[in-house]
């Protein structure tokens, strides 16, 4: 298939995710200015970080003075999954130059990865397909962040509108999307208990590390050991 036709297929595949990203990015922008970031700072975060879950988590942790280390640690933990996604895609990718590969990494998202994996069942992932399927989301995400931040600067106190609880509700929704039954229930319970205890006993930002560690350790303990590749 010629590159323009392949790119059109990529655009068609990403369209639903693109539409879904609009209100989420608007919400991110509005909540960011509610936390004290300027419109430009909110936009810069979407430009440079471009990772929804980690960005929302950063806002939840955001205080002044800015806890740079806690933000970086939380971002690293939340985005570590990208490494496995990339590793899984490599054998299914066509001829990417070094530069294309470096660029391809920059636009890797959960959505683009999932769509590329589905396509890889039938054919190889070419640069034309990847940059179409993965390259449009950043444009939508960044544009709608600026718009949401600009609109949010007129909203006033976000707490009054219950907007501070939007993170909690959003995260509950995201966790439900990751739900895989009993294994997830064990992780969620361990993390919630450890995080709440650490928050009360040690204060922020220790609750993130404590909850993350407890959840991961619980998953390790609950899983069946398996040495043979399945």
């Amino acid at each position: 298939m010629n590159p323009p036709a392949t790119a059109r297929e990529g655009v068609r595949d990403i369209l639903p995710a693109m539409i879904a990203a609009v209100p989420i990015a608007l919400l991110f922008g509005a909540l960011a200015v509610g936390k004290g970031l300027s419109v430009l700072e909110a936009g810069l975060m979407s430009i440079f970080v471009f990772a929804g879950g980690a960005q929302f988590a950063a806002l939840e942790l955001w205080t002044y003075p800015v806890p740079v280390l806690a933000l970086t640690f939380s971002t690293l933990l939340i985005n570590a999954r990208h490494t496995l996604m990339g590793a899984s895609l490599v054998p299914k990718m066509g001829a990417f130059s070094l530069l294309q590969r470096l660029g391809a990494a920059g636009v890797l998202t959960d959505e683009a990865w999932a769509l590329a994996e589905r396509r890889a069942l039938e054919r190889r992932i070419t640069p034309a397909y990847w940059f179409a399927v993965a390259g449009i989301l950043p444009v939508v995400w960044i544009g709608c962040t600026f718009l949401g931040a600009w609109l949010g600067s007129f909203l006033g106190d976000p707490r009054q509108l219950g907007a501070d609880f939007a993170f909690t509700a959003l995260f509950i929704g995201l966790i439900a999307g990751l739900w895989k039954g009993r294994a997830t229930a064990i992780v969620v319970t361990a993390s919630a208990v450890a995080s709440a205890l650490a928050y009360v006993l040690a204060g922020p930002p220790w609750h993130v590390a404590a909850g993350a560690f407890a959840g991961i350790a619980a998953a390790w303990a609950a899983a069946t050991p398996d040495r043979a590749p399945s």
Binding site: R101, V187, A217, R227
Partner: protein, 99 residues
Amino acid sequence: MSVDPVTLVAIIAMAIVTYLTRVAGLFVADRLTLHGRAKAAFDAIPPAVLVAVIAPTALTTGWPETAAAAVTILAATRLPLLATVAVGVLVVVALRAIA
């Protein structure tokens, strides 16, 4: 339209670790495949971190937040993401009004 230097440092640090997680997988020599406990531990990272971030708000702030979180969990099992967020926000506003 101002940019605070410390905020910029935080954004850049977040950007660097994020890009590293994205690029690392594309350059590992062998396919990075995990099994058994290692895979379970790795799969647990996203939910473990997400829960850790919100648990203090949901469990230690007050009864309106805890009750609203419970309603939101129920909503999340049957509604799409944005509807779930809307339910959570509306419930917390209502409960805070009577608290």
